[in-house]
Point group: none
Chain length 246, copies 2
Amino acid sequence: MLETVKIILVNTTHPGNIGAAARAMKTMGLEHLALVSPEQFPSAECTARAAGADDILARAQVFSRLEEAVAECASVFATSARPRSISWPVLTPAAAAERVATRAGADFRAAIVFGPESAGLSNDQLELCHAMIRIPTNANFSSLNVAAAVQIICYEINKQHLAAGKEGKDTGERNLPPPLATAEQMEHLYRHFQQTLTDIGYFDPAQPRRLMRRIKRLFNRAQLDSNEYNILRGILTATRNAVGKK
Amino acid sequence: MLETVKIILVNTTHPGNIGAAARAMKTMGLEHLALVSPEQFPSAECTARAAGADDILARAQVFSRLEEAVAECASVFATSARPRSISWPVLTPAAAAERVATRAGADFRAAIVFGPESAGLSNDQLELCHAMIRIPTNANFSSLNVAAAVQIICYEINKQHLAAGKEGKDTGERNLPPPLATAEQMEHLYRHFQQTLTDIGYFDPAQPRRLMRRIKRLFNRAQLDSNEYNILRGILTATRNAVGKK
């Protein structure tokens, strides 16, 4: 399951943290690193702190927007040390790792997203996430270094990986649930939703973003599988046909 | 139990690692740091990497020998990423934390010992330890940074601490989310859904139960709050109006 998980660092300020995160990943057997608009990459400090995890850095993907980084991912987790708004399910690192392990398989891709050092993710970035991982910290000092946070999450994922290995072999005969809808499919769905709500006169152009944000949160939280995705797309198409658009 | 645990760094070479370890400890609520013959302490780099955990550094004890550092400790754990000789019981970080939690009390002191970056603890130093903690790592790249190792161990100790706290009291200061939709409301919603799907011609009377069952599963899983419930009811009403039913 280790290869199904992508670690995404967003707007990382200190190049040393990127290297330390790569090292943290590699110690736990994770390989896929993506960087969204890093302040500096590559750099000597980054490579020094990677301490031998250069291959992770060499293969790191660099994007300008988080959307692109998560496009093929069916499960996107945001990390936070602080309590955030309650619109997302909040998981412990262990529970999130367990969720990834349950789904891990041929077509599944998961992303764990880490915000910039000094701030969190923006609201638009959070909209792309299905659940939040909160690393429990000291209430009076929650300032976890980003590479340390990566270390903890990867450690929990590796624990799940090792536990699965112990039960014998990994794959084989579990009843795999249907694959989850990808982030890209979800984007299509939301666009389809917005068109349809406009057609039926429910969409208020004066407050466009609020309604769509709520709808996104609801369905991101539910983590649609591909059957459910198809049903919803079918309903939207039938609605547009019924009101004479198409 | 957090105050029963002392973190001991032996012969640490890079001053930045001491600061990063102090920060890691503080995020997880641990306070007692001891340093055995650090190459450089205090230092500007150490303080910079502590990122606000200065109080841990200010109160850190410095010793020339590990014997002195562990003198009052009843339980001494050595950490290692590599398999070592089998003269000691080998525990996972979680099992070690559990052991500490079980013992935690007025007179109990535990120490977790971290060796120098480039080598392990010497045999004489290992003799002072009662058990080994092995952090499971990638067999091909086990080079865990010492502060990252401190982070993982402290994270597991904090987990035990939080688990113990939960059995005691509950805080009550959480941000309360909007109330969830009731089962009765959800029944109304599903009936409304079925009518609407019939109106737009999407509902197949030959397989009525299967489609509704899937829709129910999706929304039950999402656990709608009352705002989301109202939005969905509004969309259904707007749809029926748009196709000329009501």
